[in-house]
Symmetry: D2
Subunit: 349 residues, 4 copies
């Protein structure tokens, strides 16, 4: 582990998140990719699945085998569909491999899985040891963790925006409204009529509410971070862009609190956080500005007419909302600088 | 007025809403365009400003003159920037011309204008006589009105979604959250860096909150329709599409109310409304499906975990959110069939 | 046939072209839809496949049966994948139904089918009787036809742009370059990774060249129209939009010909054509301006440095490039006004 | 010059190209930005003009002064509108600063400027010494140059695709057709109605042809590279995306040449070029795959029916088409590895 560039595996390299992970890890100076697993390797190399990697990565693919990965790697990133990590992660962990799971399999208490993910959790003991990998709030725990649950793309900006205000007593633990907007890459690579270009362009629409699995994640992690029990009404929407998640949260102000006070509290909370950009009062968060970077932008405003605090967070769902945050967690776990291999500047326009 | 095809004027024909009005009126069998006014006519015809009208409309432009318009027309549509209608409408009305104003100048009580629009209302007497032109709720008043205030693009779906539930006692008059998403045509034709293609693509961002002028409109009209005082936290967002507004409203459920009950209440309220499509429980509203039509889609769901009713409304902001609704109001005022010249089928995909 | 509103069938109503046909026919005053056929009717009505038609069309679906259709209809529109019409059309024709085929099955000489479409044509006798339905060039033949081959989306603007210049002797029959750009709806509704929003946004790319089946169609129809044999190098590209085809053709100028001469020749050729808009010299064609309409925009320029005539054509591929042109052909066949039910004004922006 | 990280200036830092240059230079290990010049500095820092750079670059802005820049820098990147570099570059050069000009001011012979750029070139002596900075063809000359003319976004892929085929005798010097497609960032940051989101979405359209200034650049550089005089018919188009240029060139095959022969010739020519990706026969070039990278993708096909070679090239216009290629030229001039600070992997999707 004291390795300058420890060997790592990516299981589930064929999706958008997997491709982004490989892209980031290829240019990361403190890591060596030694194993890439996909469901159907068929003798292919990674650039046959992701042609944008052509020339950069002549890496052969293996299958989704914990055994094969644990022979080659000290760390494993799991970027498979929900439900698979819960079966594979324990085998890796038992073989001494430290794991960052990008699925939802280790983010919730065991008793929430049947209702929100539709399965009984098969590894409740490991689940209890998992650390929720939101470094800005839980970096200390991440550092020594064997198993890190990488956060969801919506909970990341929602929790980062609300937790400091709740801890500072500027908002109350009343139920919050979290309205999320996401680009189409968040829907993954699977083919559906609704994610075709023709069906998605000029289309903004909600989906899967009020039963989206990020609902209990937002509630659970707000509880972890603040000690308060907070309920969330969460409605995710698809908007016609590829990358980008923006969440707008509405909480109850604890008295006569101003936009400046809210903004100062966020700025103070993330003073030392390299990837959180708190916008000055009146400036508006924008997914475009963080595109391709690991930055989350936060904006807060008080609405005294209704007694609401409105907190907006924006990030690139494939970077800070998935692969970038996983690398950030890895950096902390591996004792490297938190920012290694990650950009704090978006690609614009 | 008993005219089969009364002569009408459009003042403010050069913007996107003005162009859409001319397009709709050109194919409307019960109307004749007799005057088109713009700020700088310069001897041009309408198709020089809107080349998509080439061949269809060889209409010369006049200036924004109430006098000239009232000589030629019995009805006038005003599609100018906020603040101009308040000055011009009274002159038209005094000349006997019936007016549909698409700006915000006649939508609020007089005392709200300084705070939300930045001007003292110059025609408070006419303001009191103005009828808010949301035909699904106020058709009776529209029929006989001389001056109709055509609703804003966000208030239309927000109010249509919430009012029947409030009247039925299914939600309480507690403050509501209204989260709006709009395409770029809603920002108008004026050139700004933020509305360029390069800056808007891959960008979802809030704007102008918490002081957007549709906030008091939503509150005021909910009061008009239901008798209840309701406060709204309203945050509008721009999403990278041209047309389409979707609002997601979060209200407090009055007890143990189900998605089916909410849906039934909406369906019943709009049973006879030709342009309201209430979606069955579980179906998701979509701006794409109503593109180019005068339809508003409504969807409701109960979230019993948080005690919230979530109501989603989608429309084409240039049609049902502006020009189409103005034509619908005109139809009612002129005693024509409400649906004349309007489509209830979107252009898809 | 002297019917004011003859009964018509649409076979293949489930795709984008089929949906557009139904939309146009529903608002067409001179037609009655009496049969809609799809591959898997399963007891559904058309609005279950095309929810944007909800409320407008409570039409039950049948299967792709020539027999069922011919019992109910005098005209049939075939909007099925290439290869199916060649089998079904003869049965309809033998039952006395007049047919507009939107596939490529009746556009080429029989001996071209194996090379370009991959099948031996099963109905060569009918193929010889088919009329190529480009009304601006062949309206006379369309009027009396039993079987009309509705043109492809690329050949329509390419041929309309080049044919008059060739006939006028302003360009030579040297090989032409035809560079085509199409929105994603042209790729149809079938799910492929390459037509997902995530893969198509920010992507311009050629496809299927130099063996696209519109190549021989352009050549064959230029021959039909002008008597000249002209070879075409044709490369189609996908661009990230839903609707719209723009073709840029490069031909050899026959001597010292100016932009004005080319423009005048086009303007004269289409003087009486209600759906062709010849742009003045220097104005640029634009797919957006014809969106949703049956208009094709044509623009010509001479490039004396290289001795080339450059002709640009733009249309909406689902309207003038498919369903709208089919309705235009039907109008002519049925003795109705050519423009009935079709718009010459696009929806903008 | 033997400096590990020489000080550099960027004049014209406020546009899209300027912002991209700053982004690339900030993460470039072998350079230090010491001066940023804009037209109206007004005491601002760079992140006030480019908020996406917030936190990364606390650099104060100066004005567009050759004097100020030459006091602080050994190299200068000029990213100003056409016409300004020709005046400023000589002053920098005379002060010993080596210059990479991203405008068109040093790309053509002096006698071409009046016709294509509208001005008499004010520094013809320097113009003769300028080296055209297409490193894949002219790296040797770039290495020792004081003044490098950074190529245009269209000429880069057009010339890289055609030159090797011409040199290998696989195509003839007959006039070529070059059909270009570009995203909106290529139109720059200036506000125009035609580059708004509402006007550009769903719009593909040609512009500025047949007099676009990249026409003589393509011709001149093909001559420089091959010794042949080649005329080009060039038509650029805008497509609704932000980044990405794709050019499709049509040349005359020199006899019986196959797709494989063309492909092999390109592959051989660029065997050692780190940023040229020659696609295997049948694979299609795609702007999306090179997004954010300095890669140009090339694809060739023979069309034996018409005797044409069709060559397609794709790149990111702000990287390989502008700022990235400028950094590549700088790397060579400064004796650093050609690839320093540049990515050969795009950001996908």
């Amino acid at each position: 582990m004291s390795d300058a560039a420890p060997p790592v595996a990516v299981l589930g390299a064929s999706g958008y998140t997997g491709g982004e992970l490989v892209r980031l890890l290829l240019s990361h100076p403190g890591v060596e990719i030694t194993y890439l697993g996909v469901r159907e390797p068929e003798g292919r190399s990674i650039d046959q699945i992701h042609p944008f990697l052509a020339g950069a990565a002549d890496l052969k693919l293996g299958d989704l085998s914990a055994e094969a990965a644990s022979e080659k790697a000290e760390f494993a990133f799991l970027a498979m569909p929900h439900g698979l990590s819960a079966g594979i992660a324990p085998k890796l962990l038992e073989a001494g491999v430290r794991v960052v799971d990008l699925a939802g399999d280790f983010r919730l208490p065991a008793d929430e899985y049947p209702a929100w993910y539709g399965f009984e959790h098969p590894a409740a003991a490991w689940l209890e040891k998992a650390v929720y990998g939101l470094p800005e709030l839980f970096a200390d725990r991440v550092a020594g963790a064997s198993l890190v649950a990488n956060p969801g793309c919506y909970p990341t900006p929602a929790v980062l925006g609300l937790a400091p205000l709740l801890m500072a007593g500027l908002i109350t633990p009343d139920p919050v409204v979290v309205d999320g907007k996401s680009g189409l890459s968040g829907a993954g690579k699977a083919l559906t009529e609704s994610t075709s270009f023709a069906a998605s362009d000029e289309s903004v629409r909600p989906y899967k509410f009020p039963r989206h699995q990020h609902t209990p994640e937002i509630e659970h992690v707000l509880g972890l971070a603040t000690g308060h029990t907070v309920r969330a009404s969460f409605v995710p929407h698809l908007v016609p862009q590829v990358r980008g998640v923006l969440v707008t949260s509405y909480a109850t102000l604890a008295g006569d609190v101003t936009t400046e006070t809210l903004t100062d509290a966020l700025a103070e909370a993330y003073d030392a956080a390299p990837f959180v950009r708190v916008l000055p009062a009146g400036a508006m968060a924008d997914t475009k500005r963080v595109w391709g970077s690991n930055v989350v932008e936060l904006q807060a405003a008080a609405d005294p007419r209704t007694g609401k605090a409105i907190v907006v967070g924006a990030l690139d769902n494939l970077v800070k909302g998935a692969a970038g945050q996983a690398v950030q967690n890895f950096n902390i776990m591996a004792g490297q600088d938190e920012t290694t291999g990650l950009s704090s500047v978006g690609v614009y326009p």
